[in-house]
Amino acid sequence: MNVDLCVGCGACAEKCPGKFDDTYNAGLIKRTAIYVEYPQAVPLKYGINPDVCLKLTKDKCGNCQDVCPANAIDYTQTEETITINAGSIIFSPGFTAFNPSKFDNYNYAGFPNVVTSMEFERILSATGPTMGHVTTFPGLPLKPKKKKDKLLAEKRKDPKKIAWFQCVGSRDINKCDNPYCSSVCCMYAVKEAIIAKEHAGGDLDCSIFYMDMRTPGKDFEKYYQNAKEKHGINFIRSKVHSVTQNPDTNDLDIRYVDEMGQIIDDTYDMIVLSVGLEISEETKDLAQKLGIDLTPGGFCKTGSFEPVTSSRDGIFVSGVFNNPKDIPESVLDASAAASAAGDALSRARDTLTLELEKAKEINVAGERPRIGAFICDCGSNIKGVVDCEAVTQYARTLPYVEFADEAMYACSQDAQNKMVEYIKEKKLNRIVVAACTPKTHEPLFQETLSNAGLNKYLFEMTNIRNHNSWVHKNNPDIATQKAKDLVRMAVAKAALAEPLKEEKIDVNDSVVVIGGGLAGMASAKSLATQGYKTHIIEKKEKLGGEAHKLYKTAQGEDVQTHLDELIKEIEQNENITVHCNTSLESVDGFVGNFKSTLKTNGKELDLEYGVAVLATGAKAFVPDEYEYGKDDRIITSLDLDKMFKENDAGLDAINSAVFIQCVGSRQPDRPYCSRVCCTHSIDNAIELKERKPDMDVFIIYRDIRTYGEKELLYKKARELGVIFFRYDVDQKPEVSIKNDKLLIELIDHVLNQPIQIEADLLTLATAIVPRKDEKLANFFKVPLNDEGFFVEKHAKLGPAEFATDGVFLAGSGHYPKPVNEAITQGRASASRALTLLAKKDNLFTSGVVASADPLKCSECGVCVSICPYSAPGFMTDGRFEGKARVNAVLCKGCGLCVASCRSGALHLRGFDTSQIFSQIFALGEVV
């Protein structure tokens, strides 16, 4: 394939006879030998699978070359080796989903209605083989041709009962070699069950069979509780040991033992195997070639204090290859790896990147509009339904239209080049494009306008594909008429378009990091290494924060040694100024231009800076139950760490130690999981056992949440003889002190009997609670959630920044997290901040912002109170003192204020009332 020529029209695939498994659809259907991964793929270029192409395997066919309108097909291409000279490598090869064909007791390979979760994702998807319709026999073609398939297809039905089996290919060394927990499957199973119910309507019965429900991420516990309470999903704590198939109906009969020890038989229409994440052999081989060390599970080995750095200098890692993780964490890893790779190369920054040269802007003010209209066929996507030629003809008849042209792909490089020529040649000063969606393509066309010297806001795009040819497939005449209407409306609006100005934002390139814990220090270190003056503001007398109280990390590293080293590095870094015993007294300004007053031991200092990182952390909850505070033998996890750190003599005297989990977590007043406490207690239990093997150690828990390779610690603890008892939140264990004996009573689930343990030491695994710092949140205009944690810009795609520009987020102020994750987020926040600081000389506001007309403003203040970004304010001096003014830097162009202004004083540039009305009137015109 010559990818530069391919326009992605798909004519080739229509004529291709070769077939192979469509891996994008998890193998549920076949695809042609010449293919794109999926219709929205980037780049949208066809490729040939040489193993199944008839031309390449047998020298037959050649259809695709015959039909390709772009001459893109070249059967003579061979593999090429390219050598790249680079400063660092980021290795993020991801994972493959576990293949359960080997599991004979679930008979995935033999039973058509046992599917994997990956297949189920495709079944749920509107772009999948069943178009989002949940049905049995999903692997059969929609209209089967083979006789055998036809017979099966007759049994096809909408399932009434679906079961999910958790931990398939995870937490298991008997059926597979994956002792770790895959971290994501509990959550995705809950998600799939919720969505399946949405698709199928209320009466679908969904059951999830699990060992521990692991939902330790931000807002995950609520998601799980909602699934139970609002969506009626059943959660059954049991591992199903056998599945058989009813030969007549293909329904699935399962047998399992419930928590009470009873054998239960049940029948389901479909079973989804929640398969784990695995590192492929290919990736492991490549890792070996790269010379990086792997963990027992095959993931990259990294340390807690440099969590994205491999064992080989210059190679960094991110994503699932760096331990099983979900999307939000992969996103954090990605930015953290960028920060680490950049730190290593900071001296060579900006040496290989080029500034784009900009064409000089033509002044069109006062000119009569000369509109150019471009109508796109989008291959057959639009032209297959709409008569594009007629639409183009019609466009030529519209007022102010100077020129109109039809293009097979208006977005292709050659069409763009032509557009530039037409603009110059015909002296066009407004452009209309009728094509696909502005969401993806508007920036591209605007860039073309800029290249031709036109202000990029002299542009209007109308969507004749998604809003037209796709939805009116069966009515080509009406679709053509609608396309004409849309073009007429766009032309009417474009005629009124004015060039808009983007204001330059001055960026002060020093940084303030608030909070000198691990996350804050990691952030500051990266920013300083890449050359930015960074201030750390810490309210305590020294750096380090909560980490001073920790003994060891989950990977066994000594926290204090590493912490001391990091603090030393920070203190010696020339670009970092540390302000201890310091409070932040005020914050003014906005992105690039913040001003604050600091107060250190009563002395005030003014500081100007461009970006801020909030890394203020969280703290341990002080228990209010289990007799805490009434007896010295009842302590918290951090107290136990202190005993280990100090090698407390009292440890030797302990013969029986008990841990109670979820103290203050996962209950109605604090409905989240504190994420770190399961691992922490298990770690400490192991430490006790290793110090004194004959000590009795008990952990009383609700679910053990040792996600990822922390599961190996759980396994180790059991092997060392730590005993685990489970409790329910409505039947908590009872602690009492009788005759100086410390007693813990609970109901054992397996025996269904009360048991009593006498302990010498009771450790309460306390919740981690946010600081709920409303003052700080108000200073930077950033939100706190119901629990008091900061709310990030986007739960998945913006976890280390706020919606407020120039303000970033790291550490447990976002959500409770262990050492390595706090440092990852610290680095990630630095990387996100760097992308902003790097724009120092070319950071601009958008042109589409609101502006206020002081002559009409009645000073009512509605705009000031309604704007979510605090952009409008009152002028404090001058001729228009007291009138509203919009700060273009803060305005996001949402238009809320415009709609709310009762005096008609506010206008949204580029979407002015006259423009909107002109479109509406144009729609009403009868042609």
Binding site: A26, G87, S88, S92, K191, F220, A337, K839
Partner: protein, 59 residues
Amino acid sequence: MSNKLTGSVVVIGGGISGMLSALDLANSGYYVYLVEKGPSIGGVMAQLDKTFPTNDCAM
């Protein structure tokens, strides 16, 4: 080791993590080569229907 540093980074794998590493680096002044073995970028996330915990579309 020579003193000359090369201001470019190779990112291997174009899944959600590889893509975002590449974007951050390119936007902060480093030249990036994004290497993907498949025909398009996006990785597994592009195969998912909706994603927890917000249930918005993965695309």
